[in-house]
Amino acid sequence: MFGEIFGAWVAVFLTFAIFSFLYKDNPFYKIAEHIFVGVSAGYWTSMFFWTQIQPNLFGRLWPSTHYSDGIWYGVYDLFGFISSSIFPAGGIDKGHELHFSYLIPFALGIMMLLSLFKKLNWFARWGIAYTVGMAAGLRAYGFLNSNVILQIKGTIIPLLDPDLPFFSLLGDSHFNNLVILVGTVTGLLYFFFSKEQTGNFGKVTRVGIYFLMISFGASFGFAVMGRISLLIGRFTDLITYNDASYHHATIWVLVIMVAILGYSTFTDKGNSETDVS
């Protein structure tokens, strides 16, 4: 129970410390920022190790299904001697088969770590090369398929559809289809690089910019909605932590922090504390 109450107080302090950045850069924000950077770096280092390296790499090199007492598993038992939590006895049971091909990412990973030494700095390049090669191949196909081919298919509008009205605000209609066709084609022409956007061509690309601006305004309007609801989420959490079972953490922490910040602003009116105008 103590863990929850102490935790609530820590959560409330960190929440107000981050919000204090809105007033100005101050010691509370600097503390919360550095704690967040440190904790999250350690958090993801642990999370990646226990959800990637141990189950996906070691789980495929020494699966429990193929446990035998050959040399390969002899090496495993040696590791098990060093750390039985990472290498439990009898192989790793994460539902994988034995894949020796996973020695390649293992080797690339070790090379990446060895690139720490000045002389072996170029070791990292092989890992970078693999990553860029994989990214180029997978994303080229994925984006060409979903962003180009399927969107072309979506823009091929039916001109000859009898049951489509000429105009309707909500459902599909010939007018709405034309808007999509014209907007997409003129928008594409705006991204033309090898021709100056003047004269008639300039007029067409200007129509394209209008459609882009409407699209930016629409997603900005949406964003306002989403962000406000996140703030609502924070305040509802703070209200919960103000409950008696948490010893009214929110009020106490708020009062103390405002007092300290108010006092520090009052005393160092003159000096050049960095200030967010």
Partner: protein, 272 residues
């Protein structure tokens, strides 16, 4: 030079070709590489590399402390936070009956405590800062400087108001008068002539008032131009057209850039 440049470029070409043309080959090994292993290998590689990141972070923070650089006291918090998370991750579970490995996603562990009371509030609060920044950004950016900025503003406001319950109460009178005003601004920025603007606005108001009273639009319920429908139209047609043209541009950009990497036309990410 062979090990430092030629082989990396060869790796990019070979792996790139496999993952690009692997989509067309119906052979189990290549199919499983393209479908699963390619990304799994990368995830494993990234999981090794993060240790380098952690080491670099510690080096920078320790350097700041030893050299007494400005704000070195806060580096102590960063280092303490890092080691707290590493301890919870590798050394102390806090809940003995949870096996190593599942303790990063199981209840009752120190790791879950750090997630619930430090990591999640910090992450959610930084995200919630956006509610303030979106307000100050729209306040500063939505200015009627030119016709494009007006389109940005009008579509943003209609979506903003149309999607919340309040939007369904705004009557047509209000919207049409608003449209007449925006029409006046546009006419003014086009013709730059006060008379035209004045005439346009006055005529507009008369037409709206006449139409409204003759058709009997209710004051609270919108007769026509029901704002939620208007925002739905903006968001399903002109917005999709604009989004689609950017999407196709991005699709082509990523395709062309990837081909340049695979064919070795661009290799400056490995150094000239």
């Amino acid at each position: 030079m062979l090990w430092k440049r030629q082989i990396p470029i060869l790796i990019v070409a070979v792996i790139g070709s496999i993952t690009l043309f692997g989509w067309f080959i119906n052979e189990p090994n290549i199919k499983s590489f393209v479908d699963d292993d390619a990304t799994q290998w990368f995830d494993i590689l990234a999981s090794f590399a993060i240790f380098l990141g952690g080491f670099n972070l510690l080096k920078m923070q320790l350097q700041k402390i030893f050299r007494r650089q400005r704000g070195w006291q806060y580096s102590i918090f960063a280092i303490a936070g890092f080691f707290l998370a590493i301890t919870a991750g590798f050394f102390y579970k806090g809940n003995p009956d949870v096996a190593w490995g599942t303790h990063v996603t199981a209840d009752g562990t120190l790791f879950k405590w750090i997630f619930t009371y430090m990591f999640a509030p910090l992450q959610a609060t930084m995200f919630a800062l956006l509610a303030f920044f979106v307000a100050s950004a729209s306040y500063r950016a939505f200015r009627i400087r030119n016709f494009e900025a007006t389109l940005l503003l009008v579509s943003g406001i209609i979506i903003m108001i149309g999607r919340v319950p309040l939007g369904s109460f705004i009557s047509s009178w209000f919207i049409l008068y608003l449209l007449v005003l925006i029409g006046g601004i546009t006419v003014n920025s086009f013709f730059k002539n006060k008379q035209y603007t004045a005439i346009f606005v006055i005529v507009g108001i008369i037409v709206v008032t006449a139409a409204g009273s003759s058709l009997g639009w209710p004051l609270d319920q919108p007769g026509i131009l029901y704002l939620p429908y208007l925002q739905e139209w903006i968001y399903k047609y002109p917005n999709v057209a604009g989004a689609r043209s950017i999407m196709m541009g991005i699709g082509m950009g990523i395709f062309a850039t990837s081909i340049r990497y695979i064919l070795g036309i661009e290799k400056s990410y490995i150094g000239e």
